[in-house]
């Protein structure tokens, strides 16, 4: 069951990411990124991270991607054209990314024996476990992030405002 779910949603993740890479229109890339993020939420659930799965759907596929699609539609972004700069990126980009993937996969599969395996319902971090750490041990960093978000809001408004 776990393996089947992992294969389905892992496959959806990879398919969405490849679609993001291959589509030339930004709105198609944004929609396929939503597929990737929602499938990742299911994978988080399989790994026993229930709060993060909910936060992934709400924050990433909800808030952030709505912001992206909103900006794409606001700026009326069209198809990207091929330029001379993209040719160099093709020559360097694909082998570089493939080499990175090869190295990482080799290391992970080599260390596979030392790593354990995930069972459905094997280890579940409930929201109360998470909040106990977050609001007791890490209260100061949590409060600092609220200041960070406040600064980000002010910065976004100041940057996007039309100057007279």
């Amino acid at each position: 069951m776990h393996l089947v779910l992992f294969l389905i949603f892992g496959g959806l993740c990879v398919a969405g990411a490849l679609n993001l890479l291959l589509q030339r229109h930004p709105i198609n890339s944004a929609l396929s990124l939503i597929v990737v993020m929602t499938s990742l939420a299911v994978l988080y659930l399989l790994l026993g991270a229930e709060f993060l799965a909910a936060a992934q759907v709400i924050v990433y596929s909800g808030a952030i991607m709505v912001l992206f699609t909103f900006v794409i539609m606001l700026l009326n972004a069209g198809k990207e054209e091929r330029t001379h700069g993209s040719k160099a990126a093709y020559i360097v980009g694909f082998p570089g990314a493939a080499a990175l993937l090869g190295i990482l996969t080799y290391i992970f599969l080599k260390q596979s024996d030392h790593l354990g395996s995930a069972k459905l319902g094997g280890y579940l971090v409930t929201t109360s476990d998470l909040s106990r750490v977050l609001f007791r041990d890490l209260l100061l960093p949590f409060e600092v992030t609220s200041v960070l978000i406040l600064v980000a809001i002010l910065g976004a408004v100041a940057l996007a405002r039309r100057e007279h």
């Binding site: 944004a30 790994l47 900006v71 990126a89 093709y90 993937l101 990482l104 995930a118 069972k119 976004a156």
Partner: protein, 101 residues
């Protein structure tokens, strides 16, 4: 039926590599920004997988903070993109080369 943690790590490596490739190949500034988000998500999956492996809550806390910073970064980054589009009237990164030699 069990799934080795290594499979999750390989999946996140695949997603991260696709993100790197998209970051290098894409010419539209919004698409480049989206590939950064893809890379962040891939690293988040690694954090959750290792949190499951070592039975540590702190890995998931780290993902929570990454999400918060990503949300702030998306808001500011998209505001900068709007400002660039307003002054230069293009979203192509090859045309935003004022500081290039």
């Amino acid at each position: 039926m069990v799934v080795p943690i290594a499979y999750y790590l390989v999946l996140s490596a695949i997603l991260f590599s696709i993100g790197v490739a998209a970051f290098l190949i894409k010419r539209n500034i919004i698409s480049i920004f989206m590939s950064i988000e893809l890379m962040l998500n891939a690293v988040n999956l690694t954090f959750v997988a290792f949190a499951h492996q070592w039975h540590q809550v702190s890995g998931q806390i780290f993902v929570f903070f990454v999400m918060v910073v990503a949300a702030a970064e998306a808001a500011v980054g998209l505001a900068i993109i709007i400002a660039i589009f307003r002054t230069r009237n293009t979203l192509d990164v090859d045309h935003v080369d004022l500081m290039k030699l």
